[in-house]
Subunit: 263 residues, 4 copies
C-alpha cells in the first residue's frame, strides 16, 4: 500500500515489481507461511495449548486468514476483527465470529494482529482486556499493538520468560506481550519454513531478471509480477512435489476461447 502511495505522489524514481502481490508469494509466504510460523513462534515463546483458547485475529487479509485457519486447525475458537466489510463477511462465512476489537478484547485469551496498520490494539481496548491475555503481532511493524498504551496502563514490563513480557495493570490484571510487539514468527519462531523462502526467492530472482530485461519499456511505477513468472514458479513447485495435473485438450482450449458452443 505504502509503495503505491509513494508512486501516486510521483516520488518513485524507477519501475518496481511488487513481489508481494504475486500469487505464489502471498499464497505461500503470507497465507501458509505466516499461518504456520506464527504458531511456531507461539509454541516456542509460550508453550501454551492453542486448543480451547479464544483467539482473536485482527485483520483478515492473506496473513490474517492464514493465522485464523491454522488457529482453528489447532483447536482455538477464533474471533476476527476487520475494518473492510467484504473481508468481514468472508470471515463470517468461513465460520468465524466477527466483532469489534473493543468487544473481542474483553473475552480474548490470545490476540494476534496481522493488519499492516498501527494501534490496532490501543488504550481503549486495553482498558477492558481480559486478565491473562497474551498479545502477539504477525503483521508488520511493532506498532500494531500500542506499547505506549501498554506502558501507560501497566508500567515497565517484567520479562517472565524468553520472548514474554508481563505488564501488570493497577487493578491486578496481567497482560503478556510477545517479542516486544515485533513479528512473533520471526522473533520467537524460526521464521518461514525453508520451502516458502525458496518460493519467495524464486519470484524475486525471476522478477529481477524480468526487470533487467524489460527496464527500458517500463515506467517508474509499481508493477505486478508478470503472470508467466507466477505460473512458472507454480509449475516448478508442483514438479518438485511430484504432483501431476491435467492439461486442457485442444477441444477444450477452443471451447474456452469461443462463445458459440454450449446449450
Amino acid at each position: 500500500i505504502r509503495l503505491r502511495a509513494l508512486a501516486s505522489q510521483r516520488k518513485l524514481k524507477f519501475p518496481v515489481i511488487s513481489v508481494n502481490d504475486a500469487h505464489m508469494k502471498y499464497l505461500f509466504d503470507n497465507r501458509y507461511g505466516t499461518g504456520q510460523s506464527t504458531f511456531d513462534g507461539w509454541m516456542t515463546a509460550t508453550n501454551l495449548l492453542v486448543a480451547g483458547k479464544k483467539l482473536v485475529v485482527a485483520g483478515y487479509g492473506w496473513c490474517g486468514r492464514g493465522i485464523a485457519m491454522r488457529a482453528k486447525g489447532l483447536g482455538a475458537n477464533v474471533i476476527v476483527t476487520e475494518v473492510d466489510p467484504i473481508r468481514a463477511i468472508e470471515a463470517v462465512m468461513d465460520g468465524f465470529e466477527v466483532k469489534p476489537m473493543a468487544q473481542a478484547a474483553r473475552e480474548a485469551d490470545i490476540i494476534i494482529t496481522a493488519t499492516g496498520c498501527r494501534d490496532v490494539v490501543r488504550e481503549e481496548h486495553l482498558r477492558n482486556i481480559k486478565d491473562g491475555c497474551v498479545l502477539g503481532n504477525s503483521g508488520h511493524f511493532d506498532n500494531e499493538i500500542s506499547k505506549r498504551a501498554l506502558e501507560e496502563l501497566g508500567g515497565k514490563p517484567v520479562r517472565v520468560r524468553e520472548f514474554v513480557d508481563e505488564y501488570r495493570f493497577p487493578d491486578g490484571r496481567r497482560i503478556y506481550l510477545l517479542c516486544e510487539g515485533r513479528l512473533m514468527n520471526l522473533g520467537a519462531g524460526q521464521g518461514h519454513p525453508v520451502e516458502i523462502m525458496d518460493m519467495s526467492f524464486s519470484i524475486q530472482a525471476l522478477s529481477l531478471q524480468y526487470l533487467s530485461e524489460n527496464y527500458e519499456k517500463m515506467l517508474p511505477s509499481v508493477y505486478n509480477v508478470p503472470k508467466e513468472i507466477d505460473n512458472e514458479v507454480a509449475r516448478l513447485k508442483l514438479k518438485a512435489m511430484g504432483i501431476k495435473i491435467d492439461r486442457l485438450t485442444r477441444e477444450q482450449k477452443l471451447y474456452l476461447s469461443g462463445w458459440e458452443g454450449g446449450t
Copy 2:
C-alpha cells in the same frame, strides 16, 4: 470468460457489467452457495452418506473450492483435479490431494465437476472408472461430463431413482449420473439458499442502476462491478446479520495513506 472473448472480437454492442466478478457475488453465490446447494442436491438425489467417501472435485475455482470445502466438512476424503498450476498448488496447500483425472477416476466414489469447461470427464476417464461411481455436475452446462462417452460405453441409461440414471458397462460396472448431467444443485436441490439470491439480486439491481446512470460515459466493453456497490452490499448484509465491525481511526487512515511512519 466467454463474454470477454466476445468483447475482444468487438462483437459486443453495449457496455456490460460482469456481476459474476463482484466479490459479494462470487463469495456468496459461487463459493458458499454452490458449496451448500451441491450437497443439498446430493442428499436429495442419492441419500448417500458423504463421510468416508472419496470425492473428486474437478476444478478449483470459486465453485470448486466451495464444493471441496463443504465435502471436507461433511467428512469426505477430497481429491482435486486442475489444469492451472497456481490453483493446483492452492488445493495442495489446503490439504487436498491433487492428481490427474485419469488417476482420480480409478478410485473415486463420487466425481463432481465445476470447471465451466467441456468433457472434463470423458471416455479415457470412464474406461477405468471405479464401479459404482456417482457423477454430478455443479459447474455450467451439461457437457462437463461427456454423456456421449457414457452412452457409448454404457448404452441407454436406466432411471433407478428420481434424478439418478444408471449406466451399465459391458464388464458389469455400474456408473450413476445425476440430473442428466445438468446442474445438480438446481436439478435435485432447491437451488441456492434464499439469502444468497438476495445478495446476487442486490448486486444486479445496483449494477443496473449504475449502468443506467453512467451509460453515456461507458464503452461497449465488459466492466467489473464498481467497488462501491460491492462494499455497499457487504455493509447492508453485515447490518442485516447484526454484525458490527471496526472503523479506521483518523490516525490509522493517515498512516495507511502515508509512507513516512513506521520503524
Copy 3:
C-alpha cells in the same frame, strides 16, 4: 439410559442387547448419520444457508458432536451447551464456544437439540431468544423443545412453509419450529443414508442371532453388543469399501501381550 433404569428396577423380563451402544452403531448411526441427515432435513425444510450462521447445538453426546462437526464443516459458527463437565471440556477443546443455553439463545440463528432430555429449550430461554431463530430437534422425542412454552409465548403457530411453523411473540419476534419439534432428520430429511441403516441392521441381525444362540446363559439384563460382532461388522464394511488395513505381526502380538520388552 431409560432401559437401564428399567433393568435396575428389576422390571426387565428378558435379556436385552443394547445395540445403540455398539461402536458400529453409534459411530455410524448417531455420529455420522445424524450429523448428515440433520442438515439434509435443514436444507429441505428451510433452504437457508448454514455458513455464517450462529448455530447452537444442545448436547455433546454422539449425536450432538456429529451435528456440531457437520455444522462447522458447513461454515456455521457453533456454540455448544452441555450439563456434563467432561463433555463440555471436550467441546471447548474441539474449538467450540461453550455457554449456558440462557446466554446462547440470545445470539442463536439456529438451535438444534440432541440431548435425549426434555425441556432443553424452555420458557426462560425463549423469553430472550433472538428474533428469527429457527429451532429444530435431532435428539429424541418432541419434548426437547418445549412446545407448551412456545405456545404460551407465541400462541398458535402459522405454517409458513412445509415443515416450518412460525410462532409470533407479542413483542414482534418471530420464532420458527421445524417438524413440530419431532426429529428433523426423519421429518424433513430422508432419514439416515442407506449405508448407515445397512450397518445398523447388520448389528441388529447379528445381535438377534447371538441372543437366540446364547439365550439360556444370559440374565434378564441389558447387555452390550459383543465385541466380536462389532469387529465383524467393521471388517465387512471395510471390505465393502475396498479398504485394506494392516495386521499385527506375530512379534507385535507377543510384544503387546507381554511386559518384558521396551527400553
Copy 4:
C-alpha cells in the same frame, strides 16, 4: 495394556489406578497435548511446512487422532494406518485415507507413529519408502520405528541438523529420523503445554489421595480413575477457564431416571 497383562498374570502386588484411562488425562494429555506438542517438535526440529505434505499417522488411538486432527488443521493431506477395524472405519469416516503402511510409505512425505507397538515402520516398508521422507515417533518407546532396519538399509546416519539424522540408502534415497526415534514431542518440542501437565498432575494427585484413603478396601488390581475425580477435575478446569455450563433442572433429572415419560 502392559500393566493389565501384569495384573492378569497375578504378578501385581498392590492396587494401581491407571491414570492414563481418566477422561481428563487422555482427552488433554494424549489427544490435545500430543496433538500440539508433536508439531511443536516438528517445527523446532525441521522448520518445514506441514501444509501440502502427505503425512501418515500410524495408529488412530487417542494420540494418533490428536496428531491426525492437528496435521489436517495445519494443512497436511493425512493418511492413517491401523490394525483395528473399528478405528480404521472411524478414520475413514473422519475423512482420512486409510491404507496399509506398505502402500502409505511409498507416498509419504512424513510418517509419525503413535501406536504403542514396535516395528510399526520396518524393513518391508523402508524398502519402498519415498525419497526424502521424514520419520518421527510420538507414541511410546524408540522401537516404533525400527532403527535396526534403518541402519541395515542406510548404514550409520549423519546428523544434518539438531534432532535430525539422515540415512542414505544405497540407491540414493535419503530418509530422515527425528530425535533418534524417541518421542519427538519431548525430544525436540518443549513437551506438553503446561496447562495439560497441570491437568494430569491434578488427576495423579487426587488419585493418590483416593488410593491412600481407600487402600484397605482395594485389591491388587488395576483400577480406573473414579468418575468423581474425573468430573471434579473437569469442573475445576472449566471454572479456571471462566466457562459456565447448564445444570439439569429437577424435572429433567426425574425424566432421565424414569422410563414412564415421553411419547
